[in-house]
Symmetry: C7
Subunit: 97 residues, 7 copies
């Protein structure tokens, strides 16, 4: 019975990617290798309005893998899952393989 959140304005809902601390074979990974602070975009707002009422869309899309800042973001719990809500301009970039 988890609720669905549609962010307002230029907010972006992100599910944090928790890097594995062990390999599949069970070898512990050093902390340094797991340092990238990234997440998956779950939902985006419609954007903010410019001075003339024009809508400026958010610069990431649902499904994007994004690089997150080390600080900031608002914790939101929907059902069992923890998410983070960011302002569009606080997300650092998109990550690609």
């Amino acid at each position: 019975m988890a609720k669905r959140l549609i962010p307002l304005l230029n907010r972006v809902l992100v599910e944090k990617i928790v890097p594995p601390s062990k390999t599949h074979a069970g070898i512990l990974l050093p902390e340094k290798a797991t340092k990238l602070n990234s997440g998956k975009v779950v939902a985006v707002g419609a954007g903010i309005r410019g001075k003339e009422g024009n809508l400026i869309p958010v610069s990431v899309n649902e499904g994007d893998t994004v690089l997150l800042p080390d600080y900031g973001g608002t914790q939101v719990k929907l059902g069992d899952k923890e998410y983070l809500l960011y302002r569009d301009e606080d997300i650092l970039g998109t990550l690609h393989e």
Copy 2:
């Protein structure tokens, strides 16, 4: 004899949703399960005016269930009920089943 409040500018009047702390059967719910800070939109302002006098409407509607920030909001008592007044841009998102 409760008064009705029409918020000014981009303010939004919200009635907080107090999550049940017990199930219907009387089982106490752990605090974690009741963490979502949400409310029901009771009334919205007409919006603020842009630089050219154009009206920028509020981004939520009466009846919406909204996710509220942990801090902020102005307490307003109308008749017997407590409400909270937020600026449009401080409301985090809308919640849907």
Copy 3:
């Protein structure tokens, strides 16, 4: 010989509504029941000018009953009466029966 004040720009002159602390029958009312911070709009300014010189009118009218913020406002004494002067954007909403 009371003077009349015409507020400048987007200022609003308000006469505070002091809620009765007793009923007509003389019963003392509990403090909680008298909590609403409201006033009557006595005079409004012409509004501020936008970037292009266009006048943006004040969002309340003379005679409106308004909800006031808990802090702020400038005390003004005209004749025997005490008034409060607010910026338009600081008034929270209008109250209706």
Copy 4:
């Protein structure tokens, strides 16, 4: 040999009205009765320029009686007289009999 000051931009030169502390008959007035902080506009600037170079005129005129804020204003002595210089937006309103 008093100099004349023409204020720049949206500044307003005001001569403070010192309320009588006694009546004509010599009766001392209580402090409360003399509380209104008012002045007479002596000179006004040409106004500030908007983003497009258009001149936004000052909202008071020479000769207006104005309500002054309790703090602020720059003291200026011209000849024997003390004046106060305010920014247009700091003057609270105009006073009328």
Copy 5:
């Protein structure tokens, strides 16, 4: 071999007027009589550019006698003389006999 300074943007170069502390006959003047903080405009900048690149000229002219604020201004020594450099908006007004 004094250098000449052309101020940039909306800066104004002012030579302070030091009021005489004695009369011609050698009588010491009381401090009160010498209080006006004024100067002579020696050079003005071309003005700052508005949002659309239009030049907004400075509101004083070379040769104007101006009223200066009590604080602020950058001291500049050119040859033997001390000058003060102000932003256009910090000059309070022009003085006329």
Copy 6:
């Protein structure tokens, strides 16, 4: 399996140039000679949007050698390499032989 980062808005991804602390012949260089804080631009964002929705491109290009400010920048680790993420306006200049 290093990830590729596409910066958002006007952010610029920079790989810092670590100046050699010895010459090829193994002579230690004094600290003063190695002082220039520079980097290579690895990726740039699409730019920020102006008030009317127009895109203002970033002022550096991929491959540029840039002069970096002494403070600021966000550390990002992609694969084995450390990068720095700057806002376009914080980069001081481009360096050329």
Copy 7:
């Protein structure tokens, strides 16, 4: 093998003029005579962009002798020489014989 720096946006690269502390004949000059904080413009940025994307050029040119503020500026070492990097709006004026 000195590098050449092209400043970004409205930055200006300045080589400070160190006034001689002795005359040619070796006489020590008093500190007062050497007080002017000036420099030579070595390179200028292309300017910043206005709200509509139009380029607002820098108000000084390469080769100008400029008056510098007492504080601020970023030290940059290129080859053997020390330079200072200023924002266009921080330079006080141009100096002419």
